[in-house]
Symmetry: C2
Subunit: 208 residues, 2 copies
DNA sequence: AATTAAATTAAACGAACGTTTAATTTAAAC
DNA sequence: GTTTAAATTAAACGTTCGTTTAATTTAATT
């Protein structure tokens, strides 16, 4: 799979990322993209073949650099709980910095209309889960984490909390008086991240 | 706001619910809807005026019966933690039984293309948050819940976990061998719900 | 039975869609 | 400088979109 795009192609990809994420795949026309990118409509078919393949290329373009920083984390000399905290921070930061593409993945991968290559993305998720599992089991072996934990449900709690917050952005902006983008981002970086860390820690160590 | 629809209108609404939720608003044509509902295309404009208003009516139709069972819960004579557990069960059940409409809300309310009436839905969410707050504060007053909890972030954790699981249905079906719809639903009802209850309880009572 | 209103239909509307064509410009190779 | 390939363009393609029209059928009212 080729990932070397020229300037024009990158421009198209970046505009598509913004528009797809804002208005959805079906809600964005290639005329919208070409106008915003100041590139002739025909260039999109010329470079990518079709709108659907543009989306596929976009996903590859944005997830190929997302190579696992997780594996480094596992090998670090840290307490299990510290590793989990770092993992959460890493997750939130990754997803928050690449909102556009994650929003698209979130929406378009779920649509029954799209028949994208689910396999590749599924493998990515499985790999991430394996890394998380390694950290949890290490903590259990060391006796700091309790035993009866459903590991595959931890990621939904971490990412789900973030996504749900993100999806209801206008609501929370209003509720929490996060009037500026900076305030909003800061809230994610500090309070939301801490909330998730606190939640997961409690789940992992609290004996009922 | 009128909520009395005749049989034909209800048929249209129910078909629209399924299709919007499966293929998105922009991904569904009114021809799709009319064909599936076996009703002439013109009837949709005739009854609802436009496709956009059909969506608005659909949301009203499905959320008007969603009147707060929460308020009953608050008044019940239960321990705070039991109330929280029941609230989670109620939330998951509600959202799980009305997947279609919640999926639509989730997707279309977030789209910058839609300019739906956010205000009404925002008020609904604020009301729900107030109910949750009442329960948490009661628990804190009774000394069973700890003090430093960011209450507005509890709902994202509850619903976010569920939604993220739901959004990645094919992945988890495969991972957890939930081959049939019954097995999948049962997993939500038992293990996923318990995971969320366990998580929130730990968050509320665990002192670090 | 005649009148009136509501429900339903097939057909057509103009606009927007993704894509292709064929001509032209730009750049590279020789 | 000529040739050749790549990049770029405006225009047109055929389809599908949401919506409207105008005619017809059904049902209710008098």
């Amino acid at each position: 799979m080729e990932t070397n795009f020229n300037d024009k192609q990158i421009k198209i990809l970046e505009v598509a990322e913004v528009l797809f994420s804002e208005k959805g795949f079906d809600g964005t026309s290639i005329r919208d993209i070409s106008k915003e990118a100041k590139i002739n409509i025909a260039m999109i078919s010329y470079y990518f073949g079709s709108k659907e393949r543009l989306l596929e290329d976009l996903i590859i373009y944005r997830t190929s650099d997302l190579k696992l920083q997780l594996d480094y984390l596992i090998l670090e000399n840290l307490e299990p709980i510290e590793k989990v905290n770092k993992l959460i921070e890493l997750y939130i930061n990754r997803v928050n910095c690449n909102r556009g593409i994650y929003r698209i993945l979130h929406f378009e991968f779920t649509s029954k209309k799209r028949n994208l290559n689910h396999e590749a993305f599924s493998e990515l998720k499985k790999g991430n889960l394996k890394s998380l599992e390694a950290i949890i089991i290490e903590g259990q072996t060391k006796g700091v984490f309790k035993k009866d934990i459903v590991i595959p449900l931890i990621t939904p709690t971490i990412l789900g909390t973030f996504f749900h917050f993100q999806m209801n952005k206008p609501f929370f902006e209003n509720l929490l008086n996060l009037n500026t983008e900076a305030l909003y981002n800061n809230y994610i970086k500090t309070i939301l991240t801490k909330h998730i860390q606190q939640t997961i820690k409690a789940l992992l160590v609290y004996e009922s």
